[in-house]
Symmetry: C2
Subunit: 217 residues, 2 copies
């Protein structure tokens, strides 16, 4: 086996990720071992564990880069931006990271949907991203309750946009879907049904409310 | 030990839950075993596993009842209600289930926040609730993308409202906080900052948009 212990290996991270994905798709996630992933990448198990804490983690190594992009995007958004728009700017800033990775993202989503342990890991990662976003908003002077709520909404927006991008046409990047989902979100929350929607009647049971007119409680 | 195998035990579920919570608070979640929980409840381990698949589950046995209340609330909401308002009606319908349980809920939240494995389980339970809500909305004729988005927003609303209720004054029930969070959600999504908020400037980077006026994308 190539790759003796402790030696620095070029592109080890990428090689391990590619090997893992190839094996997961060929033999199934459950039937692939860390040792097989390392062997396929022509690296040792020890090298694997230098990069990843466990088998699941090989599918989540992008989460730190993702968080950095979102956090930087929120931090550098103009101070005049409303909290949710700053979050949207942060989310849109992640689009380049996913460019050229749509096929990989689709395969990865399929694996996550099919395995509870991967789904759990993803939810924990998203919960961490939520906390990081909320912390950024608090630094922008947004009070804690609002910061948490906006961060949670941001994650919903991101998940929905990502889902649409993964299954969408090649013409549009992730930022396009983030923007489109932001539009739908506004429609859904202000009380009317989202575009292209409604086979249900449009009559509203409550008054739609305008910014500033809603009663505090 | 009282409680021989296979015998029906009155209130076994509640006794196991109470015993578990008492031990978790006294000795810590990690240091409490299933066998100790059963012993404290004067039941056998076998009885424990008739009710719960593992130690974590003893904190989540209410999730089916919760789902039923939400689903019934959405299903019986007037057909004229916008999707998110039907979801809000479903969430408000859960308030009686939590009445008198605020102290328990607060202790439980503390445990979940402190233990990743409990946090993971909670996130999976909420993901299931999200799917159930989305399915209800689709039955009301809401298209899939919108149904998923509204269900996710509903969960954010519920989590935020629950957090506020757990830490809030005794005067108000959970339904009150669901309603209050719904108001904040509207403010946050239409672009202005939520009430009592803003130390940040209010000037908006984007036009706030009115129901029906937002462009589709």
């Amino acid at each position: 086996m190539v790759g003796c212990m402790g030696r620095w290996e070029p592109n080890a991270l990428e090689r391990l990720q590619e090997a893992a994905m190839a094996l997961f798709l060929e033999y199934g996630y459950d039937r692939t071992t860390v040792s097989e992933i390392a062997a396929r990448a022509k690296l040792t198990e020890r090298t694997f564990f230098r990069y990843f804490t466990d088998k699941r983690e090989v599918l989540f190594s992008g989460s730190e880069q993702l968080e950095k992009l979102v956090v930087d995007g929120i931090t550098t958004a103009p101070k005049s931006m409303a909290p949710l728009d700053a979050v949207v700017a942060g989310l849109e800033a992640t689009a380049p990271m996913f460019e050229q990775r749509r096929a990989h993202a689709r395969e990865r989503q399929g694996l996550i949907a099919a395995h509870t342990e991967l789904h759990e890991r993803e939810l924990i990662k998203l919960a961490r991203l939520t906390s990081a976003m909320a912390a950024c908003l608090r630094e922008r002077g947004v009070p804690q309750n609002t910061a948490n709520l906006v961060a949670e909404i941001g994650i919903v927006l991101f998940k929905s946009a990502f889902e649409r991008w993964v299954n969408g046409s090649k013409k549009h990047d992730l930022a396009h879907y983030v923007h489109a989902t932001r539009v739908d979100l506004r429609l859904v929350v202000t009380g009317s049904s989202a575009k292209s929607s409604s086979t249900t009647p449009r009559k509203r049971a409550r008054s739609p409310g305008r910014p500033g007119s809603a009663s505090t409680a």
